[in-house]
Symmetry: C2
Subunit: 361 residues, 2 copies
């Protein structure tokens, strides 16, 4: 059951996991509310540290702080956290979601541990093999979603198909676009390119759901080119593509900065075009793309980057709140069911065909 | 046998394969010679088209034109080219290398066909499983080499190890650096990250050749960060990483251009800082990174981008000529032999250990 739209969204925030401690988390939440977000916040973590931070923001006066002793460290092994992490702020925040005490979770903590705890407490959406992690990707045309960017290191064809289904529903929930376009990341756009697994996933996607706007293969440069709304790939390739693009953008950004600081002339030029540069800086700001959904679970868990600043946390908080009451999980369950049923029918036909062949022989 | 250093390098140029026909090829070669390259050029292709182009450049007066009827099209299937492509300029250029009539080849033609014909005529270096395609990658610290960027879609651990050996020798030949550093591209730097295959390749590399400066795993952002000289990955991941970075750089470049053209003020600023911008433009110019070596074959075949302009062709020609007499192929054969022998010894030890165990039982 979803709460009525008019009530503020109840958001659980794991305030302890980030690289810089709770300050950017609290500050980011405050910025989101300042900007108009209607949410009832519960911060989980060290009460003594959190109380004064929260008290410093009048917009957080109605928020709650719930004490948790433990903190998941960035270096903690997810399996250890599963075994002994019940006292951590991360665990407590996800428990609140599990109990219906919150409608979404935001955490800047250890990704592997977050995935492990979320999988354990929330379970996967029925029919979904593996959860995936999404990335928002700035493009020529706005933004696209890329998944999986690292929840798993491998994916078979069924899982790639499910990533497509999940990514489509997620993009719709995020943007309202009725029919997001989907592409499968490959080394070339032609049907014969790539390895067998990816060609097989493309075949399934072409037939699986005629209502889905599957555009076939896309190449690496098509991601930033904005060729499709949803780019599907395995977590190994997706993680490397994402970090490689970040590295390339940072390199070019560094060159631009150098050009702007090279001489007195260029510093003068930078001053003259400061408005254009402000827009450029804002476009290049990774804060705007912060927020990765752990997609495929029974609940909205948004991972904020470990080193996200308050502005980045704000983006992640807004994403979590925006998704909390969208029906994308029901859509995913339904489409996966439908595609499995069709695949099942296909298998039945093969079976019948086998019987016929056997009868003929 | 290598020709003495003083004699000009004999370079075979497939002048027909590029997207824009022979003009940028001839022009690019002329630019390289103008810039000081000592080379004896043989252009292969349509004589009627080539003669006037070559005649227009006095620096090409001593170059040869050899007629070839056929042209490999970008859409041609490599297998068809292998069967019926003997009359093409691509085939003729690689044949010249095979016959000792040339010391290196440059082609802007169909990559798959070039790889297929080169493999057939030149054969692999002894002990090398699969050839790989290299990319020059601009970084914070200069440039790195990434391989494989698309010669194969899959690579097992032995092949990844061989890519490392080949990339190291290639980087040394290219830059003169005695001990290039090597990293294996993965989703995290920790030893436990990634799938079994890549962890196993890392184990082999750690032990295979103690003289090799293997730095373990690197992540996507480390490529542009210049963390290592040689980044090793399979052709699927490498191709996607390369094109994704190109796309990201183009996106940021477009934003910068937009900022510079946004208003009269910014146009004035662009004029004031024109020198810095010239440097920025040159750094971002893909022509400088043009030239991919088909590494692992008995011969130097450099692939120039299909859409490379004359400046790009110049880079590819200089790379081919620079590599023609470097002993990197001998180094590769020797290191592969050594690593195989060590692996062989390892197996023998395991075998002996097995015998001992069996005897104990």
């Amino acid at each position: 059951m979803h709460a009525p739209q008019s009530e503020p969204i109840r958001l659980a925030v794991d305030a302890m996991g980030g690289d810089a401690g709770p300050a950017p988390l609290v500050e980011g939440v405050a910025q989101a509310i300042q900007a108009g977000l209607k949410a009832q916040i519960v911060f989980f973590g060290d009460e003594a540290a959190l109380r004064p931070l929260v008290a410093a923001h009048p917009v957080l006066s109605s928020s709650e702080v719930r004490h948790a002793d433990g903190v998941v460290q960035m270096t903690d092994n997810p399996i250890q956290v599963l075994r002994r992490g019940q006292n951590t702020s991360m665990w407590a925040a996800i428990s609140a979601l599990q109990n219906g005490d919150a409608e979404a979770v935001v955490s800047s903590g250890n990704t592997g541990a977050l995935m492990a705890v979320a999988r354990k407490l929330l379970r996967r959406i029925e029919g979904v093999d593996k959860p995936a992690m999404t990335a928002l990707w700035p493009t020529n045309r706005g933004r696209s979603v890329v998944l999986d960017v690292g929840a798993n290191v491998e994916a078979n064809e069924t899982q790639l198909v499910q990533f497509a289904i999940m990514g489509e529903a997620f993009f719709r929930a995020l943007t309202g676009k009725e029919k997001p376009t989907i592409g499968l990341l490959n080394v070339g756009a032609e049907e014969l390119k790539g390895h067998e697994l990816i060609r097989s996933a493309a075949r399934i996607l072409r037939e699986a759901d005629p209502e889905m706007a599957f555009q076939g293969f896309v190449e690496g440069n098509d991601i930033s080119g904005g060729k499709v709304d949803v780019v599907v790939t395995d977590g190994f390739t997706g993680n490397i593509a994402l970090k490689t693009a970040e590295g390339a953008a940072r390199l070019v950004g560094g060159w631009v900065k150098e050009a702007l600081m090279a001489s007195l002339n260029s510093k003068l030029a930078a001053f003259i075009m400061r408005r254009g540069l402000r827009k450029l800086r804002s476009r290049m700001d990774p804060s705007n793309a912060n927020g990765a959904l752990l997609l495929g679970l029974n609940g909205v868990v948004v991972k904020s980057h470990g080193s996200a600043d308050a502005k980045g946390v704000k983006s992640a908080v807004e994403m979590a709140a925006g998704l909390a009451r969208k029906p994308f999980r029901e859509e995913i369950a339904e489409t996966v069911r439908k595609v499995n049923r069709r695949a099942g029918t296909g298998e039945a036909n093969d079976q019948q065909l086998g019987d016929v062949k056997a009868a003929v022989v």
